[in-house]
Assembly symmetry: C2
Homo-oligomer: 272 residues x 2
Amino acid sequence: MTLCWVDGVAADSLSVKDRGLAYGDGFFETILVKSGQPLLLQRHLERLTLGGKRLGLSLDLPLIERECRSFASQMGQGVMKLIVTRGDGLRGYAPGHDAQPRRILQASPLPAYPQGNAEQGVRLYACQTRLAEQPLLAGLKHLNRLEQVIARGEWQDSDHAEGLMRDTCGRVIEGVFSNLFLIKGGVLLTPDLRRCGVAGVMRAELLALAEQTSIPARELDLQMSDLQKADEVFVCNSVYGIWPVRGVERLNWPVGPLTRKLQSLVRGLLDI
Amino acid sequence: MTLCWVDGVAADSLSVKDRGLAYGDGFFETILVKSGQPLLLQRHLERLTLGGKRLGLSLDLPLIERECRSFASQMGQGVMKLIVTRGDGLRGYAPGHDAQPRRILQASPLPAYPQGNAEQGVRLYACQTRLAEQPLLAGLKHLNRLEQVIARGEWQDSDHAEGLMRDTCGRVIEGVFSNLFLIKGGVLLTPDLRRCGVAGVMRAELLALAEQTSIPARELDLQMSDLQKADEVFVCNSVYGIWPVRGVERLNWPVGPLTRKLQSLVRGLLDI
């Protein structure tokens, strides 16, 4: 059995009454573990805290942090998936006020992405699946992920390492499992995620790094025409860091200097 | 332990790797059971079939039907919840082609709704939570139900038996756990569910009944102003049947003759 805990105890199953299963009533975090350490853990916990506030789910953050650190130290290296749900429920959508949130930790090996992804960059598949606008859930990494499941099912070939997702109005939002950045005239641009999308931990880290290193950065609405005019494009997440984007459909970009600079900064964070 | 089966075997837990938990990658049906019979089962299975096709999940319908009938006969009476998920998954959104869908059956007692709901009618709470427009998922009873969880959390008082949900453009769509019908000039009107909402089994049954009994019926976009002009309003689902709606916010309706006629037809279906 691969390493797996439910509520702090080794287990590989959970109650069929869990509201995570019934309604997707919960959140998850995918955390890189190296040398027994969960990386960027504070940012993952911050997003979880925001989600808990938004959905009225009171979380014992110190307990979750302790469990994550202890689990990571047993894992050593790999990807640690943390799921937090509203726990068991009776029938009906009403969230109980005495709900006992459930924590699930699952270990998996480091994903075997081709080295070329980070070096030569990737091509994105232009997904037909559009993201619905739901400001109440936007930004959160909640368990309602059917849009991503449908989008990821759109391509099977290995020519596309990621997919590009737009919202129902055509705005460019994110990758299926990554956030998206554009560089135009030395400015770092990333889609505004107030209507839909997942506000990634690496995205937050990059925006903070940009501020620290005086790279101008903005969150704003972006269209395909902005992508067309971009000097550089890249995708990012907290497991693989940064992949330069070489192209999507008929658009092509070189791997530019600012992307390389950010890659080297991020490597310092993830290659410990 | 209450009656519960996982993949046809008595169990009250399931694998933490289930994609129903990870992504809400699956569907559910809430089926009324009386005298050991699952009621309106064919309509529940039809909706499941539609969902399976839409999400590329190949379901063994004869097996699911056999399990439902067998489970219902053991239950005798109550509410049977069927969850079907894409089964266990590895990390990542991509739906595996060799996925083994998982069936979960849970029994619960008949809900204790006040008798007045069906007799004198109910008031609806006008939810602030709006339904996002996602045509790819519209109509399906999938496991991504955070919008309903948030909406149901908006009111706790017992003056409101159900909530009224609109979409992000303000169209009137449904209840939190019911479908909505209006009657205007002898015509049965119900919101079009191509952009969002759950196409309920009782809604389908009522549209079929209307056709059989020559009651004119239409599915169309409806606004709050249509609700204002309605002669009668009711909500319905496959467990409680029909509840006349007496009011929402400042709007009020009488319990009208067509609602009573449909209630008596539905009682014939559910009170076996």
